[in-house]
């Protein structure tokens, strides 16, 4: 048996799906988290498959989500549609319900968030509503998990007894007669079950449905005539007629079945007046993000990380491991592999996991309470100035956890050039794996005063998105107006502890798994390469294969201030996974300092960098080509080798230029070194960037105009 979960965006479908199947799919408190449908088996009823469809407002063909959902319903024909209706805005939700009922598939309504309605003192006459709609209604609360067994029972019963959904709701007589005429033409052509659905879609002139039928010219004319007649009667286009009829029907239902208290400003509205205030919105956003990164990287994070790094790994684990290995008489190289290679490398990452987890908790809190959706609205004003819509900010929010889902989230952006630009710039926002780099530099270079560095890294990313946006929008492939911004904002709510912890764990888990697999393998390879020469003799690290490779690459990074071979190698290994940057540092610096009492990574790193070159190193690693997993995601979403290369090429070039400017000018102004050729080039580069941002740029409308002028002359 197959159940499909359908409903408006952010009405609790995925929460319901997780409750029903025991899965832990990503749930966010903003619309559009589920882009593609997901399948799972019902808990305790393994023979029932549940499909979670993306959230939709209607079954029209305007957005990707709507097309995915309706194709599934019509082609796969599930046995029951569980329509999740958010009782707190029942009127808008029922708009979709009326369309689901028309598909002919039996519908069961899960009236969700009933607890909120009761608390508000509103009343819904469920029995009457069920009669008027012609389908069973079950009260549920997805958040609390109540009403689920009743829902499953009702849905199973409907699937067994009702083969066909009776369509109770009717439109105005004129519209009905037009629909009956179209049904007459269609009868025999389509399945009796979905006759009304197809009649309505043809009446609405739905192009995707029209294309399915290969009507003869005279049949098409006949249908057109029916629609035209009705359109003239109502002086409106057919699709709007249907929209209005649906709302009229729902209005009637509301009058009869729903009793609401007089509307007043809700708490959500009051919060919105403050946080989306014209003047205060952006300072509030900056303040919030500043706090998030300050708490997770500098304040609370450092306390936990210092302990794991210095005490847990520094003293206990590596102490035990070397003593233990010595006691069983392991060879020197084996001891070195375990202590310097694996514990030094993987440990360096594990040490930063607490910081990541704190970051994830804070981000999850912001998402869950509903603030992040407002940020998209706030940023729309800024993004629009350089031709991206606020919708592009959603992928960037997701990317602050991990770039791969961030890049995938760009799929909801309809406009192709907007989408490409979003994909190219999304990974500038530092992801969780880049956090250790920031934390390492913060801890090593600014041990006393690092509070500003992590927020600064975040806003460096956002700043680069904005600068790139302005520059790219002036080039030919990206020119054009951004699509208008429309987005539903969820209600503010107190985040649930369970949801936040699940979020944190889901995101944190993948890093721990990565540490055990990719990072582990990488550190072993790095250890091998850094201890042996090309003829596989164990040598001093400076004569190893890795030193050779590093020294060959190092000159490339010399103008950026980190031309030593260790940093070069760390940057390259960062392509495998960004955590590797720190892991490699852990292996290489661990070995170099092995003779000293303290093998602390921080002290050793502090020795290799100046304040300026450390900042440049961090900037380059944050902005340059992302890890292989993210590059793979870029390739899938761009669906073109040319665009993929363009994206990584642009990212790396920008990273190089930014790091160059930071190092060259930083050396002069911060370290007080003489003003040289490098600084001159850096200033020239800044001038170039300013020019690229300020120039007039390509204007598609102008080009057309000048072409026609030429034609006119000839």
């Amino acid at each position: 048996m197959k159940f499909a979960l359908a409903g408006n965006p952010n009405c609790g479908k995925t929460t319901m799906f997780n409750n029903l199947t025991g899965a832990s799919q990503y749930v966010g408190n903003w619309p559009g988290v589920t882009v593609e449908k997901k399948e799972g088996k019902l808990k305790d009823h393994r023979d029932i498959i549940v499909t979670d469809l993306p959230g939709i407002y209607s079954l029209s063909p305007y957005t990707l989500e709507e097309v995915v959902a309706r194709n599934y319903l019509l082609a796969e024909h599930p046995d029951v549609i569980i329509d999740i209706v958010d009782a707190t805005n029942i009127e808008r939700n029922l708009y979709l319900t009326t369309q689901l009922l028309e598909t002919g598939i039996p519908v069961v309504i899960a009236l969700n968030m009933m607890d909120v309605i009761k608390k508000r003192g509103d009343k819904i006459d469920i029995k009457k509503l069920s009669e008027k709609l012609g389908c069973p209604i079950v009260e549920t609360s997805a958040l609390k998990g109540s009403g689920l067994s009743k829902l499953i029972e009702t849905a199973t019963a409907s699937a067994k007894t009702a083969a066909l959904q009776p369509i109770v709701h009717k439109f105005a007589a004129d519209v009905e007669s037009s629909l009956t005429d179209i049904e007459g033409i269609l009868s025999g052509v389509v399945d009796q079950k979905s006759l009304r659905w197809y009649a309505i879609k043809l009446f609405e002139r739905d192009e995707k449905v029209e294309a399915q039928f290969k009507f003869k010219a005279d049949t098409r004319d006949k249908i057109n005539e029916i629609i035209k007649l009705c359109e003239n009667q109502y002086d409106d286009d057919s699709e709007s007629i249907i929209t209005n009829e649906r709302y009229l029907f729902i209005h009637g239902l509301m009058r009869e079945c729903v009793k609401k208290r007089e509307e007043q400003m809700t708490i959500s509205d009051r919060i919105d007046r403050v946080v989306t205030n014209r003047v205060a919105a952006i300072p509030i956003f900056i303040g919030v993000m500043f706090l998030v990164y300050f708490i997770s990287v500098s304040w609370l994070g450092t306390i936990v990380t210092d302990w794991t790094n210095d005490v847990l790994f520094g003293e206990y684990i590596s102490g035990w491991a070397s003593d233990g290995l010595a006691a069983i008489g392991a060879a020197d190289w084996a001891q070195s592999l375990v202590v310097d290679g694996i514990i030094g490398g993987v440990g360096a990452i594990i040490g930063f996991v607490p910081q990541m987890l704190i970051l994830f908790v804070l981000l999850a809190l912001l998402e869950d309470c509903g603030y992040m959706a407002r940020v998209a609205f706030i940023m729309d004003r800024i993004f629009r100035k350089f031709g991206l819509s606020g919708k592009s900010f959603i992928p960037m929010l997701v990317a602050s956890g991990c770039g791969v889902p961030g890049i995938m989230a760009s799929r909801t952006i309809e406009n192709e050039s907007d989408r490409r630009m979003t994909i190219m710039t999304t990974t500038f926002v530092p992801c969780g794996a880049k956090l250790p780099i920031i934390a390492l530099i913060a801890g090593a270079m600014f041990p006393e005063n690092s509070w500003w560095l992590a927020p600064c890294a975040y806003f460096l990313g956002i700043g680069m998105v904005i600068i790139s946006g302005i520059i790219l929008k002036k080039t030919k492939p990206f020119a054009g107006e951004p699509a208008p911004f429309v987005m539903e904002l969820p209600q503010y709510r107190v985040p649930g502890a369970k949801g936040v912890l699940i979020h944190m764990w889901e995101r944190g888990k993948s890093f721990i798994i990565k540490a055990g697999t990719i990072i582990f393998a990488s550190t072993v390879v790095i250890w091998l390469l850094s201890n042996f020469n090309t003829s596989f003799e164990m040598v001093d690290i400076n004569e190893s294969m890795l030193a050779g490779i590093g020294n060959a690459i190092a000159p490339v990074f010399a103008p950026l201030g980190f031309g030593d071979w260790q940093s070069s190698v760390a940057t390259i290994t960062g392509l495998v996974a960004k955590e590797n940057v720190v892991a490699t540092m852990g292996v290489l610096h661990g070995i170099a300092e092995a003779t000293e009492e303290s093998a602390a990574l921080l002290a050793s790193v502090a020795g290799t960098f100046t304040v300026v070159s450390a900042f440049s190193f961090m900037a380059f690693n944050l902005l340059c080509a992302p890890c292989f997993a993210a590059i793979g995601a870029i390739k899938r979403e761009m669906n073109s080798a040319k665009w993929t290369w363009a994206a990584i090429g642009y990212q790396t070039l920008l990273a190089y230029v930014v790091a160059f400017i930071i190092f060259q000018l930083g050396s002069v102004f911060v370290l007080g070194q003489p003003f040289g050729v490098g600084a001159v080039i850096a200033i020239a580069l800044i001038a170039l960037i300013v020019w690229l941002m300020a120039r007039k740029g390509y204007d598609p409308s102008k080009r057309k105009a000048s072409l026609s002028a030429v034609e006119a002359n000839s």
Partner: protein, 72 residues
């Protein structure tokens, strides 16, 4: 008057939505239909958050300009 001129916090009703394209139909499925009551929650450089049918919708200036309202 276009929605962009409406005062925040005051109820208004939609008298007309201009245009006959996809955007208009999408607005329709979100609850923006003629005769419906709307309240502007907040406004930011022409972009606005609007309360319609018990939900808050954020829309950009170009869209808001196409929705004509009158004081209720």
């Amino acid at each position: 008057m276009p929605l962009t001129f409406a005062t925040a916090g005051k109820k208004a009703f939609i008298c007309k939505i201009k245009g006959k394209d996809d955007v208009r139909h999408f607005l329709g499925s979100l609850g923006f239909v003629e005769g419906e009551h709307v309240t502007v929650v907040s406004e930011m450089g022409g972009n606005m958050i609007v309360n319609v049918k018990d939900t808050r919708i954020a829309i950009s200036k170009t869209m808001a300009n196409r929705i004509m309202v009158a004081d209720a």
